[in-house]
Symmetry: C2
Subunit: 238 residues, 2 copies
Protein backbone atom coordinates (compact mmCIF):
# COMPACT_ATOMS: atom_id res chain seq x y z
CA UNK A 1 0.00 0.00 0.00
CA UNK A 2 1.59 3.23 -1.11
CA UNK A 3 1.66 6.30 1.07
CA UNK A 4 0.42 9.37 -0.78
CA UNK A 5 0.29 11.73 2.19
CA UNK A 6 3.15 13.82 0.79
CA UNK A 7 1.30 14.60 -2.45
CA UNK A 8 0.26 18.25 -2.36
CA UNK A 9 -0.76 19.03 -5.92
CA UNK A 10 -2.33 17.05 -8.74
CA UNK A 11 -1.39 18.26 -12.21
CA UNK A 12 -3.82 17.12 -14.86
CA UNK A 13 -3.48 16.53 -18.52
CA UNK A 14 -6.61 18.01 -20.12
CA UNK A 15 -7.33 16.66 -23.63
CA UNK A 16 -8.45 13.07 -23.28
CA UNK A 17 -7.89 12.91 -19.54
CA UNK A 18 -10.36 15.54 -18.28
CA UNK A 19 -12.42 16.13 -21.41
CA UNK A 20 -13.75 13.92 -24.19
CA UNK A 21 -12.36 15.84 -27.17
CA UNK A 22 -13.62 13.32 -29.72
CA UNK A 23 -17.33 13.63 -28.92
CA UNK A 24 -17.05 17.39 -28.56
CA UNK A 25 -15.29 17.94 -31.87
CA UNK A 26 -17.63 15.49 -33.62
CA UNK A 27 -20.56 17.56 -32.32
CA UNK A 28 -18.96 20.87 -33.34
CA UNK A 29 -18.05 19.60 -36.80
CA UNK A 30 -21.52 18.20 -37.40
CA UNK A 31 -23.15 21.46 -36.26
CA UNK A 32 -21.00 23.42 -38.70
CA UNK A 33 -20.87 21.06 -41.69
CA UNK A 34 -24.09 19.03 -41.73
CA UNK A 35 -26.19 22.11 -42.64
CA UNK A 36 -23.93 22.48 -45.70
CA UNK A 37 -24.91 18.96 -46.80
CA UNK A 38 -21.81 17.12 -45.60
CA UNK A 39 -22.43 13.74 -44.06
CA UNK A 40 -19.47 11.72 -42.88
CA UNK A 41 -18.38 9.92 -39.75
CA UNK A 42 -17.96 12.91 -37.42
CA UNK A 43 -15.94 10.92 -34.91
CA UNK A 44 -13.57 9.88 -37.67
CA UNK A 45 -13.20 13.56 -38.59
CA UNK A 46 -12.34 14.39 -34.97
CA UNK A 47 -9.74 11.62 -34.90
CA UNK A 48 -8.23 12.76 -38.20
CA UNK A 49 -7.95 16.34 -36.95
CA UNK A 50 -6.39 15.26 -33.66
CA UNK A 51 -3.89 13.15 -35.61
CA UNK A 52 -2.76 16.33 -37.37
CA UNK A 53 -2.48 18.27 -34.11
CA UNK A 54 -0.23 15.86 -32.25
CA UNK A 55 2.74 16.02 -34.67
CA UNK A 56 2.22 19.78 -35.15
CA UNK A 57 3.65 20.30 -31.64
CA UNK A 58 6.87 18.55 -32.61
CA UNK A 59 8.76 21.42 -34.28
CA UNK A 60 8.02 23.72 -31.32
CA UNK A 61 9.20 21.07 -28.86
CA UNK A 62 12.34 20.50 -30.94
CA UNK A 63 13.13 24.20 -31.06
CA UNK A 64 12.71 24.33 -34.84
CA UNK A 65 9.72 26.66 -34.61
CA UNK A 66 8.92 29.55 -32.29
CA UNK A 67 6.16 28.79 -29.82
CA UNK A 68 2.63 29.14 -31.12
CA UNK A 69 -0.42 28.41 -29.00
CA UNK A 70 -2.54 25.29 -29.20
CA UNK A 71 -5.40 27.53 -30.39
CA UNK A 72 -3.18 28.47 -33.36
CA UNK A 73 -2.26 24.83 -34.04
CA UNK A 74 -5.95 23.93 -34.00
CA UNK A 75 -6.63 26.54 -36.66
CA UNK A 76 -3.66 25.51 -38.83
CA UNK A 77 -4.37 21.81 -38.73
CA UNK A 78 -8.07 22.28 -39.40
CA UNK A 79 -7.25 23.08 -43.03
CA UNK A 80 -5.54 19.72 -43.43
CA UNK A 81 -8.41 17.81 -41.83
CA UNK A 82 -10.99 19.62 -43.94
CA UNK A 83 -9.04 18.87 -47.13
CA UNK A 84 -8.81 15.22 -46.14
CA UNK A 85 -12.62 15.06 -45.95
CA UNK A 86 -13.13 17.12 -49.12
CA UNK A 87 -14.69 20.15 -47.42
CA UNK A 88 -14.12 23.37 -49.36
CA UNK A 89 -17.30 25.35 -48.67
CA UNK A 90 -16.32 26.95 -45.37
CA UNK A 91 -15.21 30.55 -44.89
CA UNK A 92 -12.57 32.03 -42.57
CA UNK A 93 -15.07 33.02 -39.87
CA UNK A 94 -16.51 29.51 -39.83
CA UNK A 95 -13.05 27.97 -39.69
CA UNK A 96 -12.18 30.15 -36.74
CA UNK A 97 -15.37 29.13 -34.96
CA UNK A 98 -14.71 25.44 -35.59
CA UNK A 99 -11.07 25.70 -34.43
CA UNK A 100 -12.33 27.34 -31.25
CA UNK A 101 -14.54 24.28 -30.78
CA UNK A 102 -11.62 22.84 -28.79
CA UNK A 103 -12.58 25.37 -26.12
CA UNK A 104 -16.07 23.84 -25.96
CA UNK A 105 -15.41 20.26 -24.92
CA UNK A 106 -17.29 18.39 -22.22
CA UNK A 107 -15.69 16.55 -19.30
CA UNK A 108 -15.93 12.79 -18.89
CA UNK A 109 -18.79 11.85 -16.57
CA UNK A 110 -16.58 11.43 -13.50
CA UNK A 111 -14.29 14.40 -14.08
CA UNK A 112 -16.00 17.23 -12.22
CA UNK A 113 -17.24 15.13 -9.33
CA UNK A 114 -13.83 13.54 -8.89
CA UNK A 115 -11.97 16.84 -9.07
CA UNK A 116 -14.34 18.34 -6.52
CA UNK A 117 -13.44 15.53 -4.12
CA UNK A 118 -9.73 15.84 -4.89
CA UNK A 119 -9.79 19.61 -4.23
CA UNK A 120 -10.46 19.06 -0.53
CA UNK A 121 -6.89 18.01 0.25
CA UNK A 122 -4.97 18.82 -2.94
CA UNK A 123 -4.35 21.66 -5.33
CA UNK A 124 -6.08 20.68 -8.57
CA UNK A 125 -4.00 22.20 -11.36
CA UNK A 126 -4.13 22.00 -15.15
CA UNK A 127 -0.75 21.15 -16.70
CA UNK A 128 -1.82 21.23 -20.29
CA UNK A 129 -0.50 21.64 -23.78
CA UNK A 130 -3.43 24.00 -24.15
CA UNK A 131 -2.76 27.69 -23.62
CA UNK A 132 -4.23 29.32 -20.53
CA UNK A 133 -7.02 31.10 -22.41
CA UNK A 134 -8.13 27.85 -24.06
CA UNK A 135 -8.20 25.85 -20.82
CA UNK A 136 -9.85 28.73 -18.95
CA UNK A 137 -12.59 29.19 -21.56
CA UNK A 138 -13.25 25.45 -21.50
CA UNK A 139 -13.43 25.46 -17.71
CA UNK A 140 -15.83 28.41 -17.57
CA UNK A 141 -18.20 26.78 -20.06
CA UNK A 142 -18.08 23.29 -18.56
CA UNK A 143 -17.65 24.09 -14.87
CA UNK A 144 -14.25 22.45 -14.45
CA UNK A 145 -13.09 23.51 -10.97
CA UNK A 146 -9.36 24.24 -11.43
CA UNK A 147 -7.48 25.82 -8.56
CA UNK A 148 -5.19 27.29 -11.20
CA UNK A 149 -4.14 26.70 -14.79
CA UNK A 150 -0.55 26.16 -15.94
CA UNK A 151 -0.76 26.41 -19.72
CA UNK A 152 1.94 25.63 -22.25
CA UNK A 153 2.20 29.37 -22.95
CA UNK A 154 4.02 29.78 -19.64
CA UNK A 155 7.04 27.72 -20.70
CA UNK A 156 6.45 28.07 -24.46
CA UNK A 157 7.00 24.45 -25.33
CA UNK A 158 4.92 21.29 -25.31
CA UNK A 159 4.75 18.12 -23.23
CA UNK A 160 6.53 15.77 -23.00
CA UNK A 161 9.33 18.40 -22.90
CA UNK A 162 10.95 18.05 -19.47
CA UNK A 163 10.77 21.83 -18.98
CA UNK A 164 6.99 21.62 -18.51
CA UNK A 165 7.14 19.09 -15.67
CA UNK A 166 10.04 20.95 -14.04
CA UNK A 167 8.04 24.19 -14.19
CA UNK A 168 5.14 22.66 -12.28
CA UNK A 169 7.06 22.09 -9.07
CA UNK A 170 8.78 25.48 -9.47
CA UNK A 171 5.51 27.41 -9.90
CA UNK A 172 3.88 25.43 -7.10
CA UNK A 173 6.96 25.77 -4.83
CA UNK A 174 6.99 22.12 -3.82
CA UNK A 175 9.29 19.20 -4.56
CA UNK A 176 8.68 17.19 -7.75
CA UNK A 177 7.79 14.21 -5.55
CA UNK A 178 4.95 16.26 -4.02
CA UNK A 179 3.37 16.69 -7.46
CA UNK A 180 1.32 13.88 -9.00
CA UNK A 181 0.76 13.97 -12.77
CA UNK A 182 -2.69 12.66 -13.72
CA UNK A 183 -3.10 11.54 -17.31
CA UNK A 184 -4.51 8.83 -19.55
CA UNK A 185 -1.42 8.84 -21.77
CA UNK A 186 1.62 6.70 -20.89
CA UNK A 187 3.96 9.10 -22.73
CA UNK A 188 2.92 12.02 -20.54
CA UNK A 189 3.27 9.96 -17.37
CA UNK A 190 6.60 8.42 -18.35
CA UNK A 191 8.04 11.89 -18.95
CA UNK A 192 6.62 13.17 -15.64
CA UNK A 193 8.09 10.18 -13.82
CA UNK A 194 11.51 10.80 -15.36
CA UNK A 195 11.42 14.31 -13.83
CA UNK A 196 10.59 12.97 -10.37
CA UNK A 197 6.83 13.50 -10.30
CA UNK A 198 4.45 10.91 -8.92
CA UNK A 199 2.09 9.51 -11.53
CA UNK A 200 -1.56 8.46 -11.76
CA UNK A 201 -2.81 6.72 -14.86
CA UNK A 202 -6.55 7.12 -15.43
CA UNK A 203 -8.02 4.83 -18.07
CA UNK A 204 -10.01 6.55 -20.81
CA UNK A 205 -10.73 3.67 -23.17
CA UNK A 206 -13.07 5.69 -25.37
CA UNK A 207 -10.69 8.60 -26.04
CA UNK A 208 -10.37 7.63 -29.72
CA UNK A 209 -13.81 6.03 -29.95
CA UNK A 210 -15.30 2.54 -29.74
CA UNK A 211 -13.01 -0.28 -30.82
CA UNK A 212 -9.77 1.58 -30.13
CA UNK A 213 -9.31 0.52 -26.52
CA UNK A 214 -5.77 -0.13 -25.33
CA UNK A 215 -5.17 -2.40 -22.35
CA UNK A 216 -4.68 -1.00 -18.85
CA UNK A 217 -0.99 -0.62 -18.01
CA UNK A 218 0.36 -3.18 -15.56
CA UNK A 219 -0.32 -2.35 -11.94
CA UNK A 220 2.99 -0.90 -10.74
CA UNK A 221 3.78 0.88 -13.99
CA UNK A 222 2.59 4.06 -12.26
CA UNK A 223 1.97 5.01 -8.64
CA UNK A 224 -1.76 4.74 -9.27
CA UNK A 225 -3.56 2.93 -12.08
CA UNK A 226 -7.31 3.56 -11.97
CA UNK A 227 -10.45 4.00 -14.01
CA UNK A 228 -11.78 7.43 -12.99
CA UNK A 229 -11.11 10.58 -10.98
CA UNK A 230 -13.50 9.35 -8.31
CA UNK A 231 -11.42 6.16 -8.05
CA UNK A 232 -8.33 8.34 -7.73
CA UNK A 233 -9.96 10.31 -4.92
CA UNK A 234 -10.61 7.05 -3.12
CA UNK A 235 -7.01 5.91 -3.52
CA UNK A 236 -5.66 9.28 -2.26
CA UNK A 237 -8.05 9.32 0.69
CA UNK A 238 -10.09 12.35 -0.41
CA UNK B 1 -24.19 54.90 -17.44
CA UNK B 2 -21.20 52.95 -18.67
CA UNK B 3 -21.54 49.81 -20.71
CA UNK B 4 -19.46 46.97 -19.31
CA UNK B 5 -20.79 44.20 -21.53
CA UNK B 6 -17.44 43.85 -23.30
CA UNK B 7 -15.58 43.06 -20.05
CA UNK B 8 -14.62 39.37 -20.12
CA UNK B 9 -12.12 39.03 -17.29
CA UNK B 10 -11.59 40.71 -13.95
CA UNK B 11 -7.98 40.76 -12.79
CA UNK B 12 -7.66 41.31 -9.06
CA UNK B 13 -4.95 42.76 -6.94
CA UNK B 14 -4.69 40.48 -3.90
CA UNK B 15 -2.94 42.10 -0.89
CA UNK B 16 -5.28 44.73 0.52
CA UNK B 17 -7.89 44.32 -2.20
CA UNK B 18 -8.98 40.69 -1.67
CA UNK B 19 -7.40 39.97 1.71
CA UNK B 20 -6.86 41.95 4.90
CA UNK B 21 -3.11 41.46 5.27
CA UNK B 22 -2.85 43.70 8.35
CA UNK B 23 -5.20 41.69 10.58
CA UNK B 24 -3.75 38.42 9.36
CA UNK B 25 -0.13 39.37 9.94
CA UNK B 26 -0.99 40.91 13.32
CA UNK B 27 -2.56 37.57 14.29
CA UNK B 28 0.39 35.54 13.01
CA UNK B 29 2.95 37.79 14.73
CA UNK B 30 1.07 37.67 18.01
CA UNK B 31 0.77 33.88 17.85
CA UNK B 32 4.52 33.58 17.31
CA UNK B 33 5.85 36.33 19.55
CA UNK B 34 3.43 36.77 22.46
CA UNK B 35 4.36 33.36 23.95
CA UNK B 36 7.96 34.64 24.04
CA UNK B 37 6.84 37.55 26.20
CA UNK B 38 6.68 40.22 23.53
CA UNK B 39 3.78 42.64 23.77
CA UNK B 40 3.53 45.41 21.24
CA UNK B 41 0.95 46.79 18.85
CA UNK B 42 0.65 43.84 16.46
CA UNK B 43 -1.09 45.93 13.80
CA UNK B 44 1.77 48.42 13.93
CA UNK B 45 4.19 45.53 13.45
CA UNK B 46 2.20 44.39 10.38
CA UNK B 47 2.31 47.92 8.96
CA UNK B 48 6.04 48.25 9.61
CA UNK B 49 6.72 44.95 7.87
CA UNK B 50 4.55 45.87 4.88
CA UNK B 51 6.39 49.18 4.61
CA UNK B 52 9.62 47.22 4.17
CA UNK B 53 8.11 44.94 1.55
CA UNK B 54 6.80 47.62 -0.80
CA UNK B 55 10.18 49.22 -1.60
CA UNK B 56 11.87 45.79 -1.70
CA UNK B 57 10.15 45.19 -5.06
CA UNK B 58 11.76 48.29 -6.54
CA UNK B 59 15.17 46.91 -7.56
CA UNK B 60 13.52 43.94 -9.30
CA UNK B 61 11.14 46.26 -11.14
CA UNK B 62 14.03 48.52 -12.12
CA UNK B 63 16.06 45.60 -13.44
CA UNK B 64 18.78 46.11 -10.81
CA UNK B 65 18.09 42.76 -9.19
CA UNK B 66 17.13 39.39 -10.64
CA UNK B 67 13.56 38.37 -9.90
CA UNK B 68 12.94 36.85 -6.50
CA UNK B 69 9.50 35.77 -5.33
CA UNK B 70 7.28 37.69 -2.94
CA UNK B 71 7.70 34.76 -0.51
CA UNK B 72 11.45 35.48 -0.56
CA UNK B 73 10.90 39.22 -0.08
CA UNK B 74 8.66 38.45 2.89
CA UNK B 75 11.44 36.43 4.48
CA UNK B 76 14.13 39.05 3.79
CA UNK B 77 12.15 42.00 5.06
CA UNK B 78 11.01 40.17 8.18
CA UNK B 79 14.50 40.56 9.62
CA UNK B 80 14.26 44.34 9.30
CA UNK B 81 10.82 44.48 10.88
CA UNK B 82 11.89 42.24 13.77
CA UNK B 83 14.97 44.40 14.42
CA UNK B 84 12.79 47.51 14.41
CA UNK B 85 10.70 45.99 17.19
CA UNK B 86 13.69 44.64 19.09
CA UNK B 87 12.89 40.95 18.57
CA UNK B 88 15.99 38.76 18.66
CA UNK B 89 14.72 35.53 20.22
CA UNK B 90 13.40 33.82 17.11
CA UNK B 91 15.08 31.02 15.19
CA UNK B 92 15.25 30.33 11.44
CA UNK B 93 12.38 27.85 11.49
CA UNK B 94 10.15 30.33 13.30
CA UNK B 95 11.13 33.12 10.92
CA UNK B 96 10.23 30.92 7.96
CA UNK B 97 6.87 30.10 9.50
CA UNK B 98 6.13 33.78 10.18
CA UNK B 99 7.18 34.84 6.66
CA UNK B 100 4.82 32.18 5.31
CA UNK B 101 2.08 33.87 7.35
CA UNK B 102 1.42 35.95 4.23
CA UNK B 103 -0.03 32.73 2.77
CA UNK B 104 -2.53 32.57 5.64
CA UNK B 105 -4.48 35.81 5.26
CA UNK B 106 -8.24 36.10 5.43
CA UNK B 107 -10.43 37.77 2.80
CA UNK B 108 -12.46 40.90 3.53
CA UNK B 109 -16.02 40.04 4.46
CA UNK B 110 -17.44 40.71 0.98
CA UNK B 111 -14.59 39.15 -1.03
CA UNK B 112 -15.68 35.54 -1.48
CA UNK B 113 -19.37 36.28 -1.87
CA UNK B 114 -18.66 39.02 -4.39
CA UNK B 115 -16.23 36.93 -6.38
CA UNK B 116 -18.70 34.07 -6.49
CA UNK B 117 -21.25 36.42 -8.04
CA UNK B 118 -18.70 37.87 -10.46
CA UNK B 119 -17.66 34.38 -11.62
CA UNK B 120 -21.02 33.78 -13.26
CA UNK B 121 -20.27 36.06 -16.22
CA UNK B 122 -16.56 36.83 -15.89
CA UNK B 123 -13.25 35.08 -15.50
CA UNK B 124 -12.06 35.90 -11.98
CA UNK B 125 -8.27 36.03 -12.16
CA UNK B 126 -5.54 36.96 -9.69
CA UNK B 127 -3.04 39.46 -11.13
CA UNK B 128 -0.81 39.68 -8.12
CA UNK B 129 2.67 40.62 -7.04
CA UNK B 130 2.47 37.38 -5.09
CA UNK B 131 3.94 34.30 -6.71
CA UNK B 132 1.56 31.58 -7.86
CA UNK B 133 2.34 29.25 -4.94
CA UNK B 134 1.67 31.99 -2.40
CA UNK B 135 -1.66 33.05 -3.93
CA UNK B 136 -2.69 29.42 -4.43
CA UNK B 137 -1.89 28.41 -0.85
CA UNK B 138 -3.83 31.42 0.41
CA UNK B 139 -6.79 30.53 -1.79
CA UNK B 140 -6.86 26.89 -0.69
CA UNK B 141 -6.85 27.86 2.99
CA UNK B 142 -9.38 30.68 2.71
CA UNK B 143 -11.64 29.37 -0.06
CA UNK B 144 -10.94 32.15 -2.56
CA UNK B 145 -12.55 30.97 -5.80
CA UNK B 146 -10.04 31.99 -8.49
CA UNK B 147 -10.63 30.78 -12.02
CA UNK B 148 -6.87 31.01 -12.45
CA UNK B 149 -3.85 32.72 -10.92
CA UNK B 150 -1.42 34.94 -12.80
CA UNK B 151 1.44 35.45 -10.36
CA UNK B 152 4.39 37.80 -10.68
CA UNK B 153 6.62 34.76 -11.26
CA UNK B 154 5.18 34.46 -14.75
CA UNK B 155 6.62 37.75 -15.96
CA UNK B 156 9.33 37.97 -13.27
CA UNK B 157 8.77 41.61 -12.39
CA UNK B 158 6.38 43.52 -10.13
CA UNK B 159 3.41 45.80 -10.63
CA UNK B 160 3.14 48.57 -11.61
CA UNK B 161 5.54 47.40 -14.35
CA UNK B 162 3.62 47.68 -17.62
CA UNK B 163 4.73 44.16 -18.59
CA UNK B 164 2.41 42.66 -15.97
CA UNK B 165 -0.73 44.35 -17.30
CA UNK B 166 0.24 43.57 -20.89
CA UNK B 167 0.72 39.91 -19.97
CA UNK B 168 -2.82 39.64 -18.63
CA UNK B 169 -4.54 40.27 -21.96
CA UNK B 170 -1.96 38.08 -23.72
CA UNK B 171 -2.46 35.11 -21.39
CA UNK B 172 -6.24 35.57 -21.46
CA UNK B 173 -6.27 36.07 -25.26
CA UNK B 174 -8.55 39.10 -25.12
CA UNK B 175 -8.06 42.80 -25.79
CA UNK B 176 -6.78 44.99 -22.93
CA UNK B 177 -10.14 46.79 -22.98
CA UNK B 178 -11.87 43.48 -22.21
CA UNK B 179 -9.86 43.16 -18.98
CA UNK B 180 -10.89 45.10 -15.88
CA UNK B 181 -8.27 45.58 -13.16
CA UNK B 182 -9.83 45.49 -9.68
CA UNK B 183 -7.77 47.08 -6.90
CA UNK B 184 -7.90 49.35 -3.88
CA UNK B 185 -4.66 51.10 -4.86
CA UNK B 186 -4.72 54.06 -7.26
CA UNK B 187 -1.16 53.33 -8.41
CA UNK B 188 -2.10 49.86 -9.58
CA UNK B 189 -5.20 51.15 -11.37
CA UNK B 190 -3.44 54.11 -12.97
CA UNK B 191 -0.81 51.78 -14.42
CA UNK B 192 -3.49 49.37 -15.66
CA UNK B 193 -5.39 52.24 -17.27
CA UNK B 194 -2.26 53.44 -19.04
CA UNK B 195 -2.01 49.99 -20.67
CA UNK B 196 -5.61 50.10 -21.88
CA UNK B 197 -7.30 48.01 -19.18
CA UNK B 198 -10.63 49.03 -17.69
CA UNK B 199 -10.42 49.82 -13.97
CA UNK B 200 -12.51 49.26 -10.86
CA UNK B 201 -11.50 50.94 -7.61
CA UNK B 202 -12.76 49.12 -4.51
CA UNK B 203 -12.46 51.07 -1.28
CA UNK B 204 -10.64 49.29 1.56
CA UNK B 205 -10.42 52.03 4.19
CA UNK B 206 -9.07 49.73 6.87
CA UNK B 207 -6.15 48.32 4.85
CA UNK B 208 -3.62 50.09 7.09
CA UNK B 209 -5.83 50.08 10.18
CA UNK B 210 -8.19 52.49 11.93
CA UNK B 211 -7.43 56.17 11.48
CA UNK B 212 -5.54 55.75 8.18
CA UNK B 213 -8.51 56.14 5.84
CA UNK B 214 -7.90 57.93 2.57
CA UNK B 215 -10.81 59.53 0.73
CA UNK B 216 -12.63 57.79 -2.08
CA UNK B 217 -11.27 58.83 -5.48
CA UNK B 218 -13.54 61.14 -7.47
CA UNK B 219 -16.26 59.34 -9.38
CA UNK B 220 -14.91 59.22 -12.92
CA UNK B 221 -11.31 58.67 -11.90
CA UNK B 222 -11.89 54.99 -12.75
CA UNK B 223 -14.54 53.13 -14.70
CA UNK B 224 -16.04 51.92 -11.43
CA UNK B 225 -15.58 53.38 -7.94
CA UNK B 226 -17.25 51.22 -5.31
CA UNK B 227 -17.09 49.92 -1.76
CA UNK B 228 -17.09 46.14 -2.12
CA UNK B 229 -16.97 43.21 -4.54
CA UNK B 230 -20.70 42.74 -4.11
CA UNK B 231 -21.20 46.36 -5.16
CA UNK B 232 -18.98 45.66 -8.16
CA UNK B 233 -21.11 42.65 -9.08
CA UNK B 234 -24.17 44.88 -8.99
CA UNK B 235 -22.54 47.47 -11.25
CA UNK B 236 -21.41 44.81 -13.76
CA UNK B 237 -24.80 43.13 -13.79
CA UNK B 238 -23.73 39.84 -12.22
Amino acid sequence: MSDFTNIRALTFDVFGTVVDWRSGIAREAEAMLAPKGHAFDWGAFANAWRKQILPAMGPVRAGDRSYVTMDALHRETLDVALAEFGVADIDQTEKHRLAMGWRRLDPWQDSIGGMSLLKAKHAVVALSNGNIALVLAMAKRAGIPWDTILGADLVRTYKPDAAIYDSASRFLDIAPSQVMMVACHPGDLDAAKSRGLATAYVHRPLEWGPGTERPLPEAGAYDVVCNSFTDLAGVLGD
